[in-house]
Symmetry: C2
Subunit: 428 residues, 2 copies
């Protein structure tokens, strides 16, 4: 997939021709939200392509191209994976040096001016109308590390952990796109370990969670589970996700119904949805997965490579200095997104196009590859020293976190772009 393009695409770009992720954009000069594809340093405005009649020779693509004028990708996602792939390959062809359709875009400078926008000039938005958002807990090293911190190494993983993808319902309204500020939350917390009476304060343990997340593109009826080996047809694509967490609020509130206020203030996602088909070449096994033999039949997948080989990074940006605080890989999950969907719906829970499914925090096995400050600092006991004399236990106002991730090699990278958020002081 590293064929040359007539567009100038840097070989290290996450948005190579092998990728072509979809998003929702607007511009200061053109505020209507519409669909776009990211390639190199550009966003291709799909509404302009549609109005420029580039899809008109392909009856199926022409028929559905109205979806690109929608302010979310839900209608496009609902077309199903076959059409996603057809549009993606068609757009790839348009951009190839050796395009089979040279008159449509390569030889049409007027349409290029209207449709090919510098990425830095476009505003990106949450790409889907998200009905429900679920966050799983399938990062096995993260679950183990957190278990050791709170229960010791002998009982680190709960008895159910390797039998089912543990998850909880999150707050859909709090999902925001990369770049939006994250206001420091206030709430109830205990003033010291063992205290009996809570105090009201700004969170002093504001943390990150490095996650991969999938968007759903196909509904199931209430009462009808999605079979695990059909679940891939229900997955539109993937984004990076930072599930910001207030650990002090979480510790006080989470028994017995799970995290609530500690996570409902903001969750940031990357703006470009990497289509499921673009990630298929990077399938790999999940070394921590329990394996079919240890799973109930409804979770047994027919293939061994149920995960993705995606390199992930976490950068902390303080006063314009960038400090890399983690390097990790999406292989450190112990359940696949297909298993998450099968488990989510085994009771008959209806999923809808636009629903978002988070993986849970992804941590590697050593201390350079952790997905949360909770783990890096052992719950605020040992500061990290990212460089230049800086130390951190948890996030301070003004700190910015940038998640990044990509699969593949130079010239054919399939990446997500930044998933960033800066901590702003509490608004009130």
């Amino acid at each position: 997939m590293s064929s040359p393009s007539w567009l100038n695409i840097h070989p290290e770009s996450p948005f190579s021709l092998a990728n072509l992720p979809f998003g929702i954009i607007s511009q200061q000069s053109s505020v209507a939200r519409r669909a776009a594809v990211a390639v190199g340093d550009y966003a291709i405005d799909l509404l302009q392509l549609s109005q420029g009649r580039v899809f008109d020779d392909e009856p199926q693509l022409k028929e559905h191209s109205g979806v690109f004028s929608e302010p979310t990708l839900n209608a496009f996602a609902a077309l199903g994976r076959c059409l996603h792939q057809q549009y993606r390959l068609f757009i790839r062809d348009l951009l190839l040096e050796e395009t089979s359709k040279p008159t449509l875009l390569k030889g049409n400078p007027e349409l290029q001016r209207r449709a090919i926008l510098p990425l830095q000039d476009v505003i990106t938005h949450v790409p889907m109308a998200i009905g429900d958002y679920t966050d799983f807990y399938a990062g096995i090293n993260h679950a183990y590390n957190v278990g050791v911190l709170f229960r010791g190494p002998d009982n680190a993983l709960q008895p159910n952990y390797l039998h089912l993808p543990v998850g909880y319902h999150g707050r859909a309204s709090s999902i925001q796109v990369s770049g939006a500020p994250v206001y420091r939350p206030k709430g109830q917390m205990l003033p010291a370990p063992g205290a009996k009476t809570p105090v009201f304060a700004s969170s002093k343990k504001l943390d990150i969670e490095l996650e991969l997340a999938a968007f759903v593109c196909k509904n199931n009826d209430q009462g009808m589970p999605i079979p695990v080996n059909d679940a891939h047809n229900h997955i539109f694509g993937y984004v990076l996700m930072n599930d910001w967490s207030a650990r002090d609020i979480q510790a006080w509130e989470y028994v017995p119904l799970g995290p609530f206020n500690s996570k409902n203030f903001a969750t940031t996602i990357s703006p470009w949805v990497v289509l499921a088909d673009a990630l298929e070449p990077f399938r790999t096994s999940l070394p921590g997965a329990p394996g079919n033999g240890k799973l109930l039949p409804y979770l047994q997948q027919g293939n061994a490579d149920i995960g993705f080989d995606i390199q992930l990074t976490v950068d902390l940006v303080v006063e314009r200095q960038v400090f890399r605080i983690s390097e990790c890989n999406a292989q450190h999950l112990c359940f696949s997104f297909e298993q998450m969907l099968a488990h989510h719906t085994i009771t008959g829970c209806p999923m809808r196009t636009g629903d978002l499914i988070g993986s849970g925090t992804i941590s590697g096995k050593d201390e350079t590859s952790l997905g949360s400050l909770l783990e890096m600092t052992k719950n605020g006991q040992e500061p990290i020293n990212p460089g230049m004399g800086l130390t951190r236990m948890f996030l301070e106002d003004g700190d910015e976190i940038v998640l990044n991730g990509f699969a593949g090699r130079s010239g054919g990278r399939v990446g997500f772009g930044d998933c960033r958020g800066r901590i702003a002081p509490a608004r009130t």
Copy 2:
């Protein structure tokens, strides 16, 4: 509010002139969803009233009456409580024997034929597009009873319980309207207490939860909490809710992130939204509430009567025989809906018009007033004997549960109508 109407309204009707709850209806002969008001045994079709120009003399009501052609009440709700009350009082006037507008409806038999529909002939729908659904746990006797079952009487209530309204994010897509079937969920559970390995089966502990729930009608910006003493302006109205729960699935899955599959298969609500202003006359204190002196300032309300005096009943219907299995009152909550909203948003969590907030299971203090079978049967140890030789631990296929509730006296009742669901066998 018990003034006579020219419509025949039974004095025991939950839909007296003091009520006038709003819902969304369609008919077999007229499938477009639109807004309606319930009164006596009738639904007043608000689209017909609007098209019949009954709102035209009141500029504000005329201006906004387009909302009644929407397929949900969200646009109506977003108008705010002042306009809700203006529409409600206007419609009440139309229906009074001594109406001040005799020509509009009372003297207009042609419009009556089009707009006044027998309730039994209309199909009701989930009245709001629900973005997020949150369920609290503010039924103090329920929390205590469940705590006694699982931890004994000395630690029945968790340390945080009386400091904050404990809650969790629920599954919005699984909310259904009264009358929709409830398919028995399947899932993972332990075959016996103390077992180490789960089995896959249909739930054998399918339970009910008797709840009151509120719809939100006003957004708050991300980062901006709703002050507790302004929260009433964010509440559109109330419905009854049955948060069906699979106790065997719940027991295995809920540590550490709370209930998930055990509750995501179905939650049933009553179809008619009782407007907040219609319930205001029935404000009362909450005897189990911690009181302002024990609460952090952000939860302290300026008035003492923060609850509602609503009589609640639970009926079990088996082969057309109706057995009353509980009689309770909404006073048995220990936090108000205003406190729930203030707590929900104290971190800056954004609420949106249409969001649903459940109270948690409401149980009284004695065994005739419990809101779940879990409590009635002590987790399946002691069967209930509702009559005619029938016994139940949990729900069986074909069982139907009907929740009901009302405030006020004969002739002026403010009630919800049925919140019913019948257990159907698992679909697969």
